[in-house]
Subunit: 183 residues, 2 copies
């Protein structure tokens, strides 16, 4: 038997995306967004209502998307609760540091291991569409082959049924490969 939850945005897993921008004074800001995803080989879409972040993206035509990890679940949640309009230096306040992206005019949050550095393409009804110019990864989460080690990264995802953050780590299969066993 199935239970109907109605018309809800209950995708699973939802990413926990930290959107980084500069304001008009060059102060780095960040907010937490779960509604977004890849929408082309080098494109990402983020659904944002009107926020300081939206204003900043229009201003700089750039943003970063960092992946929240278990080590910074508190910080990731904080930047989703507190607006940069109320606390302009909110990143500094919670001990997060930033470095300017080499590729776009937006801040990389040093403490978050994976960052997509994006140039604004356009605003659409569905959200802000950006071109991914580069993906940078902190070496501390790389394995001996230079790829991301999920167990070092410990990314989190958002569970919309329970408003919970869940850890993404343990490998259970190989994509584009295991399915061949069923042929």
């Amino acid at each position: 038997m199935r239970k109907n939850f109605g018309a809800k945005p209950y995708l699973y897993p939802m990413p926990v995306l930290i959107i980084g921008t500069y304001d008009e004074n060059g102060v780095p800001n960040a907010m937490n967004a779960a509604w977004g995803g890849i929408c082309g080989y080098k494109e990402i879409i983020i659904d944002l209502s009107e926020h300081k972040t939206t204003k900043n993206i229009r201003l700089n035509e750039a943003f970063t998307v960092s992946v929240a990890d278990a080590a910074h679940a508190l910080e990731a949640d904080y930047v989703g609760i507190v607006s940069g309009n109320d606390v302009p230096d909110k990143l500094e306040k919670i001990g997060l540091h930033t470095t300017n992206s080499e590729f776009v005019n937006a801040p990389i949050i040093d403490e978050l291991p994976i960052t997509l550095e994006c140039k604004l393409i356009k605003f659409t009804e569905e959200g802000v569409v950006g071109e991914i110019m580069n993906v940078s990864v902190d070496e501390k989460v790389l394995d001996e082959n230079g790829s991301v080690d999920p167990m070092k990264l410990e990314a989190i995802s958002f569970d919309p049924f329970n408003n919970a953050y869940l850890k993404v780590a343990e490998k259970v299969g190989n994509a584009f490969s295991d399915g061949n066993k069923l042929k």
Copy 2:
């Protein structure tokens, strides 16, 4: 130090979305898509290149999005590798069963616990946009309060760096709540 991976669609975690449709003969089909996400309170976007699924969505103006789980990682991978053009009865072939959605003209895959039942809104440059008409959940993954239990569900996500499937389960925090500790 950060390593640059270049312009790649390396979001993390990526969902593993199984798109269900009917073909012109009413035969259920499914494919695996990782590029997509929520883009509005009741809207979902899936980036699809030209597939049997795209044709089917145009035909029925409907599709379902089921969440792949660890118990069906093999089946989820198989429907991503094998096209319905080559194996029209591919779901039957791997032992998956379907039930017609009560809300849209698209099949629910009985074995996958969470399904978003969607009506086509439009095709855009960024992907297929659907309106979520209902989310149905198999009772076997519900907890005693009637919500989804992530440990019973064991959803999987796609790791684009390693082409791996990773399990999403262990809770590490409360959203819209834990961040208050940093205020």
